[in-house]
């Protein structure tokens, strides 16, 4: 299961498992974002390279117009894979 929802505060919550079979769903959603945003990963259990690639593509696109993605509440395992991928250098993590 993977889902994306918006809070009334404007944060975007990713939920469940973002694997290769769900990466198109994340890609479609992120392609609709045109300003800086915060992704809340507090309910995201798992991410693979397919999900990471979607995030990186969105960050590169937004960066070209002076915007960026901030990611908050990563669990330990996801934080670790971000470090392995060098994403701690290209995303603002909190």
């Amino acid at each position: 299961m993977f889902d994306i929802k918006r809070t009334t505060e404007g944060n975007i919550i990713f939920t469940g498992r973002l694997d290769a079979s769900k990466s198109d769903q994340a890609r479609t959603f992120l392609s609709s974002i045109s300003n800086s945003c915060t992704l809340d990963f507090s309910e995201l259990d798992y991410i693979s390279s397919a999900g990471l690639s979607v995030l990186l593509a969105a960050q590169k696109r937004l960066n070209e117009s002076g915007h960026s993605i901030k990611i908050i509440n990563l669990n330990t395992h996801i934080e670790n894979i971000f470090r392995v991928a060098g994403f701690d250098f290209v995303f603002d993590l909190e």
Binding site: S21, S48, V90
Partner: protein
Amino acid sequence: MKKEFSRHISALEEIFTDLDGFLSQEKLDDRITFVLKLVVEELFTNLIRHNVGGRDQVMLDISLESGKLKVVLEDFEVEPFDIASIQPVDISSPLEARKVGGLGIHIVRNYVDDLVYEYLDGTLRITAVMDLEEHDVRH
């Protein structure tokens, strides 16, 4: 756990369900649970993307013996494709220079202790081994 799965990305749902069963049976901890799923997904999707030819089904065999967790993926009737030929990713590049994609094998190499590619008579086999002895991984 030894089973054939459809050579399609949609098979991931069934693979994860079966992995949950295996992991529950072996009582492995959260970190190994995450890493095993990650390694299986990355190797499986890599095989689907890069291997030319192939039957409709691929074989996944996972075993735990003497503290070593072994993942074997076999793809039949395919042309050789050595994962070692995949270019390494420069993770220190600035955002503008980062290329999208190509992270899968980089990630697998960081999480496993051994990664072996074999090819014989049209069958490609990838074996990944994680040594669990150094970690307290059971509940």
